[in-house]
Amino acid sequence: MGLLTSAASRAEVPVFPVVGAGGREAAEALWLLPGVRMVDTPRAAAVLVVIGRLTRALLQPVLLVHDQMPGPRATLWWPVDGRPADDGTDGDEGLLAALPDVVTTTAGDAAGLRAVFADLLAGRRPWGPPALADIESPRWRGVGPYGHGGEGMMGGVPYGRPFAEMAQDPDGLMLDQLPLQIGPLFPALPPGLVLHLGLQGDVIRGVTLGDNPYRSWPGDPPVGPLDSVPFLDARTSPTTVAALEVARARHHLRWLARTLRLHGLDARGRRIAALAGGLSATDRPAVEALARRLGRDRGLAGATAGVGVADQATLEPLGIELAGGPVARAAGVAIDARTDDPAYAGLDFEPVVHHGGDARARLRQRVAEAAQALALAERAGDAVRSPGPPVEGPRGPLAPGRTMPSSSLIHLLPTLLDGQEWGDAVTTVASLDLDLEEAAVDQSATAWPQTPTGTSTASTRTP
């Protein structure tokens, strides 16, 4: 082994994570592993880590990501919960069939990951050809009169790119826009989110939602444990208030950590993610100090103020105003299921409310709620909450038979994103704290107004 290879095998492992069903928790752990670096693009990654279980709709995107990695490359699979893979999703089997050299390790196993990486660089571990060699990008070579894929004046796919369409830009000019599908594995969007949009320069026009890949086939059951599990369980079984509130604070802090990373503050995000990992009610002073610091942070305020304004008028048609949740409370709607919950009666609970409904208000809302949650946990002691009234989850109220919060929030996207600059759009999506798995729980065929057909090619490949 040469000096170069030996040095290379000691570098931080560049990892591109793919979050399958139930994989969110383990994905947070991956971020904090020592000697591992999450990268922004598969082009920079040597190891692909598939976390949780794959649905059929996620299989092809994962294989595309795999093929984009330049090599040497290896794929790791971290199954979650040890649940069998035969309960209606066969993406896992597809992955193992398409990539025979997938290594299965336990989630969060840093040593296993490093060992695979070291073997890979030392040449002890062969790496395979592209998994989708038989699937081609749009055929353009040799097509058309000039052999460049175009035809006539405005037809074809010149050089493999679809022809731009024209549309009004914010300054009133008719400019070309490039039709694009973003997702389901775009690292700056929540895992699974698929957006069909037009891009005019870096301005987004005409957004429609794509299929939710966590629900890959009509009739498939929802897959994987959701990241709001304690709250879902609280609907049907007794829970201590303290456990519920610490889980809420942890959820909000993890969201904050991910959001900071998107704003270019990876190191600050890691610190908060580490705090969230071992969070308990005694961390209240630390979280309160954090809330104060973030409140004073001019840079973060400038990056979020006025972005993605979802005020009461925007929320009302979706029924969110009546339902509650941090997004509604950040727009000044003081509704919280905990107000009427007898378990919180003696705890002096008042809903936190912010005004403006922009990304900045939502950021402050969540951090303030995290601090408040830890204060509630301290005060609640051993108090037990009995099932019955709706549970206020971290994204909104949860009750049997009720739409999941992410399912309604996701419909804000087409309105909010239209006309936004790219960075603002990413900020907006992040500030809504969407979970596509949660949205898949009660997604019925009619719940998705737009169902473009182009994305379901992965499903048709399965037997």
Binding site: H148, E165, M166, L175, D176, L178, G201
Partner: protein, 205 residues
């Protein structure tokens, strides 16, 4: 090789590359490449100017053109979003006339340049051209300098007024009833050419 000889060779090379780059501007199917070939031509000329002791002017030319050509390239991509390029087609008209005019202009000017007997009075190597230019701009020729400044200011204001959405008579797209590009179509704001009008676009990028 002595320094003046080296400078002479460099001037040959730079002069040649500026002409080659200029020719490439009109021989590429990509607007971005065209803009940056033009920039290359300007950079070569700017470096010749530096070698000719007009250091300040040469560097300012590079600085200015780098910005302008980037705007030009961004401009064309803005109108035509495809990063790769679009369907190629001949984008020239009156080709013969243009060629003849170009050759005649070249021949005439080159003849004057070669035939005329210019006095041989080279710039003094010890002089400070930048300082002299500064003294000139803020001394004898201050009026010219100020005129140029005011002209640029007026241009900026005028350009914003022309390009802006709101003209003197309100929104540029309201009420002005632009005539349609197709002469047979009815005039009026609702008769704007179809977005897919074949003419738009795209031959360069």
């Amino acid at each position: 090789m002595s320094r003046p000889e080296l400078a002479g060779v460099a001037m040959w090379i730079l002069g040649g590359s500026s002409v080659v780059a200029a020719w490439r501007v009109f021989r590429t199917d990509s607007m971005v490449r065209a803009a940056y070939w033009l920039l290359a031509s300007f950079v070569a000329v700017g470096m010749v100017m530096v070698l000719l002791q007009a250091r300040f002017l040469g560097l300012v030319l590079v600085l200015m053109m780098a910005g302008e050509m980037t705007i030009m390239a961004a401009f064309m991509v803005m109108f035509m979003m495809n990063p790769a390029g679009l369907n190629p087609m001949s984008m020239v008209h009156q080709h013969t006339t243009a060629k003849v005019a170009g050759v005649v202009a070249f021949a005439g000017l080159a003849f004057v340049g070669v035939a005329a007997d210019f006095p041989d009075r080279p710039v003094d190597a010890a002089s400070e051209p930048t300082a002299e230019l500064g003294e000139e701009l803020l001394g004898d020729s201050m009026l010219i300098f100020e005129t140029a400044g005011v002209t640029l200011l007026a241009t900026m204001i005028g350009a914003i007024a022309i390009a802006g959405k709101r003209g003197r008579f309100g929104n540029a797209q309201e009420g002005s009833a632009p005539p349609p590009v197709d002469p047979d179509a009815p005039a009026g704001p609702d008769a704007r050419p179809s977005p897919m009008h074949g003419g738009h676009g795209g031959m360069h990028h």
